[in-house]
Amino acid sequence: MIRDQETLDSLAETVARFVAERLVPNEAKIADDDRVPDDIVAEMRALGLFGLSIPEEYGGLGLTMEEEVRIAFELGQTSPAFRSLIGTNNGIGSQGIVMDGTPEQKRRYLPRLAKGEIVGSFALTEPEAGSDAASLRTTARREGDHYVLNGTKRFITNAPQAGVFTVMARTNPADKGPGGISAFLVDAGLSGLSIGKPDKKMGQKGAHTADVVFDQCKVPASALIGGVEGQGFKTAMKVLDRGRLHISAVCVGVAQRLIREMVTYASNRVQFGKPIAQFQLVQAMMADSQAECYGARCMVEETARRRDRGLPITVEVACSKMMASEMVGRVADRAVQVFGGAGYIADYGIERFYRDVRLFRLYEGTTQIQQLVIARGLLDAAKG
């Protein structure tokens, strides 16, 4: 739902300009340094990028999903590491609070998350539990007016920078399924909470993931999201629906960037006396990329509109995430191909995108998990 086209256009144009003028020129540097420099983080904060999805009453922009994906298309046009920095505050690191938090939890965290004063992080994945989220081993044991957390979380995005973690832990050991899981808000720096060293990753340098370890970590009972046990898995699934749609939009943005790079390069690279863009085999790679990218974009926009209308979106989101992430994988592969040898050389930046986009098919649910979600939706609907 777009509330005001002129204002949204203005928001999108401002983000596009910031991306082009400030982020794109720094892509190689943040990959080399494996960090986003403080001045750029400060600019992203000043621009208001951390609070896109947080309601206006808590200092965010309160964008609708359709508006949010429009902004994500623009943010996607540069290294995904920049988007990752603000990604958790707008997505999995804040939405648990927005959707299911108590008024007190919202007041306590959302204004700071919206301003980017703290970074929110989402701790679901474990060494033994990824997509099978219901088999979580991290436990939260009630002791008086506290819970005591024990367990290890793995590949947690923005963990080294995080100020607050949304942690999924089992509160009911008797219930081995999703019903025994609760969600907690755990402040960084608590005794018994430690962060592993940042993982060495294939791509997305500058965005960090790490283990988060709970060893007799004591949190107040008020840290339980929504104040009710056993709701954590439901919260996590709702948060992921929204997060996956945002990721899908980012995939479309990256693909648009890569298509532009392909067209520019192919128009200038001369072989056999003419630009390679005039050869039909090269044109086919560009055309296939554009058609697939446009298809994914339409899916993302339509699913966003469905969410804004309050319709169920789990299957549609899984379709969008699968299509968009697989699409950008193929587009990045073709971009390397169009660039030829240059596509394999780091100076051109294309191989960096090729590595960066590989993650989109893995996190917030692998393609295979999206397939399962889609198939389950179909079969459930057939049962009636």
Partner: protein, 249 residues
Amino acid sequence: MKVLVAVKRVVDYNVKIRVKSDNTGVETANVKMSMNPFDEIGVEEAVRLKEAGKATEIVAVSMGPQACQETIRTALAMGADRGILVLTDAELQPLAVAKILKVLCDKEQPGLVILGKQAIDDDCNQTGQMLAALLDWPQATFASKLELGVSDARVTREIDGGLETITVTLPAVLTTDLRLNEPRYASLPNIMKAKKKPIDTVDPASLGVDVAPRLSTLKVNEPAKRQAGVKVATVADLVAKLKTEAKVI
């Protein structure tokens, strides 16, 4: 002190300009438009004055078709307080713009008027000077630094061969040069808030200004295509070409 800032809607500086096929002007249909970059510097300077407690209110003025409202909104998102849109489909030349601004200044009584030194579409570099003459106010053009006092302003100007520092008594007209400041990005929350700031719409006739063009454009041409360069293998080749072909040495 009230500051009035003029903001012009022009073809975006990133757009590759194309001349219309009938040579009557530049193609503007379906072309991205944005605020003249020198005017953006003007808005930024006004916002900085306000943040420093030296300006109390910033009024952004734009003239032209309804779409100029977007340019005013950009100024409001950067920090201007309200806008005035002078709505007209007529072609506005610098003298007409200066006359309209004169009337608005008589009404608004600003202590300082800031304009870009020129607009990147027609490069006229006339409006600020004409406005100062019409108002009989001092002018400080091509400003690269502004220190605003209570009754005067110290302005550093970029001139051929160096910098000139002058003092003008207020009220005055200031035009901005490129190095006066680096404009900020309007923050996303401020873009949302700008929607709620007021914009008054007036038309030139109600201000009593005849905007009919005094100059007519005869023809607009694209610059001549440059010939492709050549690579030379040695310094000796280069010198020979400079002597025999370019004939510059």
